[in-house]
Amino acid sequence: MNDNKKQLRIALRNCGFINPEIIDDYISRDGYMALGKCLTEHTPEETIKEIKDSGLRGRGGGGFPTGLKWEITRKSESDQKYVVCNADEGDPGAFMDRSILEGDPHSVIEAMAICGYCIGADKGLVYIRAEYPLAIERLQIALSQAREYGLLGENIFRSGFNFDIEIRFGAGAFVCGEETALIHSMEGLRGEPTFKPPFPSVSGYLGKPTNVNNVETFANIPAILNKGAAWFSSIGTEKSKGTKVFALAGKINNVGLIEVPMGTTLREVIYEIGGGIRDGKKFKSVQTGGPSGGCLTTDFLDTPIDYDNLIDAGSMMGSGGMIVMDEDDCMVAIAKFYLEFTLEESCGKCSPCRIGNKRLHEILDKITSGRGEFQDIERLQLLSQVIKDTSLCGLGQTSPNPVLSTIANFEDEYLAHVNEGKCPAGQCKALLKYEIIEDLCTGCTLCFRNCPVGAISGERRQPHYIDQSLCIKCGVCYEKCKFNAITLS
């Protein structure tokens, strides 16, 4: 991705600039300096204060103040504590954490050791999803090099501090990104969330105080300690400090990772950094926050992006995936898509999420297949509210967001589906109709020969005809016809 004046690399400071398989590369760019300084010159309290002053908030989605979390875990009395790195990144459209682990694994290792020193833990665990084989390999190499250099293990920097890190692998369950589920998965149980409190900081892995942070959160730590809290907190907005990495995907010219100061507007991200919409199409919406987030419209293009503004706009920061949609995308179908994801990934423990989302999906399916009625929109809204209010974990509590935000911002599209039986974007197949324009049809029989279900009939050199009851709307005839005689309505 093009580097652009608008971008500022903190979490991605080394990605692409060092060979991630060579520890000396990392060290030559001030790597492990922050750890050395903490261990030899600063008390844990001083270090925690620095993180608190920096204003860093968790990048895993929730935005909880990182320094405060460390302080709570430090104050939880126990003979054993753990540092956990959440690398289970599963939000559709998100690949920040993968890129950091692949491009700069030592920054995460260094930060976990600093965290261990601060909270009083000598053991770290990285929970990484199995879908990331290269990140796993790079992390393994980095861990063994750090051990070789004495940066992990016993008596690090001759300070008497011991710390080592173990890798645990996910096995294809999105809900394991939720911290209590992640901990249960590491305990060898089904990855089902449990009620909070107690928070992991008080009772986590094996019942011991456990500090869980996201990959990108950790990657910020060494930079903050090297350059100071004042520097970090000078970047960003009032309540969201520093930068955020976003993963741009979808109908945008420049796809890939970007890192921008908090408070950058969507317009800057999409048009200046992202290079605008592909094929000169019109921007319709950008989805942030994955299945927990919502769709933002042109109305929000000039809103500064930070945790609070996105929530006010009916979406959320989430982990930083941004999927850009253009005029060809049907927002009802998009909402249905996210619901499909949630349905599959719901752990099934509580009924609002397990059954409620199923019902939401059924209603959306009804609407996209042309059987929707006006009252369905209200049903969706009502049921969504119940699911949000009564689900156990963050997955269920946020799963209706894509539905609610598309209704709020694109009600006209819902209305077109239920009232007129039309899909304005031309995406919902059941609402489409392929027809042959008699005047243009030469009777060449090409469509007749290509239709997979024999829905087309007609004599050679006579206008052909499509039997709507047989047509499966595959679009083959539309593509094959050389005379533009087939229309889509």
Binding site: E89, G90, D91, P92, G93, A94, F95, R98, A130, E131, Y132, P133, L134, R168, F169, G170, A171, G172, A173, F174, S185, M186, E187, G188, L189, R190, G191, E192, L206, A247, L248, A249, G250, K251, V255, G256, L257, Q287, G321, I323, D329, I334, F337, Y338, F341, E344, E345, C347
Partner: protein, 156 residues
Amino acid sequence: MDSIQSLIKDLADQHGRNRESLLPVIQGLVKREKYLSEYSMVEIAREMDIPAAEVFGTATFYSFLETKPAGKYIIRVCKTITCSMKGKNQLLFAIQDMLKINVGETTPDKRFTLLETNCLGWCHKAPAILINDEVYTEVTPEKIREILTGYMKENI
């Protein structure tokens, strides 16, 4: 002791026999055997002194722990939003057409299993697929034919 039993014993020696070692042991077994048979589950339960029902309950929670026989190469096609917007269906058709199997099935020669999965974190290079531990991105129907032909040439 048969080969499964000794594999399980080795894995338990390596990872431990506590409950928190259960997933690493199962994952080690699936890596070698491609799937977890009922027999393997019972043997893991015996070796680690965990009720077999618990082993089953835990394993079946995770989509990457196959409990049905699987082929040597497991193809996982991303079906999530960006890949769907960028031609995942055509890709899937090409694979089905070439291997003559549907999603969830294994070729009769036990070489390929075809599955769908959720976002692989390569959305900017969609569509993406995973074949065992190898990621392929921006896969077109032409490209997948080449890739699969490559795998077919490898010895079983």
